[in-house]
């Protein structure tokens, strides 16, 4: 199984609509009071269990770096947007959240997310969580992986489970400045 197939089979990938200006930036979000509802608690259990979301996503210091970090997803998305992303997951995927693959001239495949690039180099966060700069002249190919990274969860979760998961995602407000 290729890396791409492996990842595409496992990834829970939310379609996020980040602005270009936010492409390489992260900021603490504004304080926003939230209460962890019962639904959110159940949703967290789904996120970390049945949904296997941490295999691709990261929340705080837990999870994978393959997909986008969801620590602050609730601060910038409405529940409706989150639902749409969960059920029609590959409708719109921002470039920085798409899987990227570079293959060296010796045939070694490097997969992850692209963080930056110029004419000569590519900066990646690799699937094994390393920051890496590659010279394009040393690569046989480099491009986004076309295979949709995240399956729809429409048929994988019940309606109640979907609601709980959305409640949990909406509760993720990022780091709140004391």
């Amino acid at each position: 199984m290729t890396n791409a197939a492996l990842f595409s089979a496992r990834i829970f990938f939310l379609a996020l609509f980040l602005t270009p200006a936010a492409l390489f930036m992260h900021s603490p979000v504004a304080a926003k009071s939230t209460q962890a509802s019962d639904g959110a608690s159940r949703g967290q259990a789904i996120f970390e269990g049945k949904g296997n979301c941490l295999s691709c996503h990261r929340v705080a210091d837990q999870g994978s770096y393959m997909g986008p970090d969801l620590s602050a997803i609730g601060s910038g998305r409405t529940p409706e947007e989150l639902t749409k992303a969960l059920l029609s997951s590959n409708a719109e995927v921002a470039p920085q959240n798409r899987l990227y693959r570079a293959i060296t001239r010796s045939g070694k495949a490097i997969t992850g997310r692209i963080l930056n690039q110029d004419v000569y180099t590519i900066q990646m966060l690799t699937s094994d969580a390393h920051l890496l700069t590659l010279k394009k002249s040393g690569l046989r190919s480099f491009d986004f992986i076309d295979t949709p990274p995240m399956p729809s969860y429409r048929d994988k979760l019940t309606a109640a489970e979907q609601a709980d998961l959305i409640a949990y995602l909406a509760s993720l407000q990022g780091v709140i400045k004391q």
Binding site: H26, K32, N116, L125, L131, T133, I176, Q178
Partner: protein, 714 residues
Amino acid sequence: MLLPRKRLPTCSSQSLQMRYKYPSLNFAERSRKLLFCTLLSLVFVPIMYAQQSDLPDGQGKDVVQRMCTQCHSLSVVTGQRMSREHWAIQVEDMVSRGAKGSPAEIQLVVQYLSAFYGNGAAATTTGPDVGAGTKSRGFVSAKPLEPIPYSELVPANQHAEPDEKQGVFISHEDPADITGVTPARILHADKEPQNWLTFNGTYSSNHFTPLNQITPKNVKNLELKWIFQTHWLDPYEATPIVADGVLYTTQGDDVVALDAETGRMYWIYRYTPAADSRLCCGRITRGLAIHGNTLYLAAVDAHLIAIDARTGNPLWDTHVARTQSGYTMTGAPLVVRDHVIVGVAGGEYGIRGFLASYNAYSGKLEWKFYTTAGPGDPGASSWKGETYKIGGGSVWLTGSYDPETNLLIWGVGNAGPDYNGDQRPGDNLYTSSMVAIDADTGKLKWHYQANPHNEYDWDAVQTPLLVDMQWKGQIRKVLLWANRNGFFYVLDRTTGKFLLGTAFVKQNWNAGFDKDGRPIMTLNSRSSEQGTLIFPDNQGGTNWFGTSYSPRTNLFYVSARDGYSTLFIKGAQKYTEGERYDGRGRRKPGSVTNIVGTEMDKYLAIRAIDPNTGERKWQYILNSGLSLNPFGGWQTNAGASGILTTASDLLFVGGREGNLVALDARNGKELWRREMGAPMIMDPISYFINGKQYFAINAGLALYVFGLPDGNTK
């Protein structure tokens, strides 16, 4: 606020003409004419003079902007809060240092600043306030925080429980679940010179790299490899860290991850500090710490923030102190095992300084060590009444750590109010001291006070270098310390015992030491209402510039400011929370001038000192007394970068005149020099990637990285 810009060209053109047409003319005869050009680097030393325009509209705005941005950024002004009376003193002090303005203009400036930046004034610094809430690591809930009463911020004593581990072996083994830059790697950082894992490189802070690819022979071939331009207009006063091919640095309170070989950016974390932060000296964040795959930022608004080193995502954010009371943080944290150690600045605002330890994983406070002794502390009687609660003792540079004794060894700033000791009778422990505290408990092990009852604004925060060396016939565990007061000290770092103290610049306050190392003050060395002329000036014989010790040459190296003096004048001042509290007085009519000798008698030199004797082995003059200020007029060249020595006996250092040099560490001979076009005011580092040694230093608002040519590293 500092200097008027429009009035300086007259000075500069005259001065230039006079200098070059009449080079033999005694410069002292012209010094008064040039005084207004020499300015404020003496007070707000190493600053890039950003031309930001974020002042609120009001009568006098243009005059303030014209005068203040001559020598420093507006954030130096907008971060302060003072009463009208103290703004008048501040402005008067600037004028006494050369700022020109008509009486009406000066009054206008005072009026404007006291109106918009008076005590209790609304926030006007850039950026939105992000609001209040509780720290959230679990990303679950948040609730607004109540403002913290000042009285609760300065309790009598909050030491942790007595150290039950004392005398017990402290394990430095890494937990099984930690990857990345583990505590054991930091402990043995000298064994992986390819990286620069802490602000000072290693726990001993020696600023010595075992790398030796760049040598005295090939250093002339150094070439620029890449530049990182900060997107920032305030001072870039930061030393990077390098871990496994990634270079992390700050620009203000932003954090940036760069590929250390090419300079290409991986990510940037943007942080906007509280808009009502009290900043004495601009938005400065000197560096970062790393633990595993987490970076730690001590933000200027006194927040400690953990950041994922691979993505730049914040993990937690802990409020260390109340910035509205004057607390800030500008120094890089230090990681010791799972402790993240930070210190607070704000000595000019009547803070009670402290070092604190936070858990690296949770951000939870573990202990706090106050740098002014309170009831129950050793030395509590060195304060009268409750003056210790507003006694200063800021801790704004990163200290060192001795793993053998588990001691954090840290320099402490001066007492407050800075210039008026009458308001704080006593020795004022542990201000102007070196302290050693247990890394697990924060309990004081020993202290040595370099300046009891300091009235000269000499912060003693300079980082001690921890050295095991042959000292007067026996191997000793010592620390080497160049203090802002102009003295080089050798202390036994296990006990704090004073071993040696010698002046490394001109000084007139110290007549010697008693048997315990307490300085014997000279006559007329106390500050006074009439003014007391003291060498060195308040910026010191040295300052935050990192020093270096080379085990190859057995020499200690310091960037030494020589010939600088200040007229110290004290003034009574009432403490008001959040207001500047420095005890500075007004110059009396007819008082003596603070100009002694000529401006050219002042200079900065790199000096090599024998730790056994304090004797100077050689010196290299890096800054002259004056040079042209790019924004008009002349400026004193008060500061320099830190110093880096190498296993190939090179010494790298840069100065405020823009000259970056490589010297032979054995004899001070210049081997290489480049004009960088901007001041260098922070420490250089070195690292190694893919077969090549790199040397990095910031100049102006950019980081410059050098290396030998590809294919020619011999």
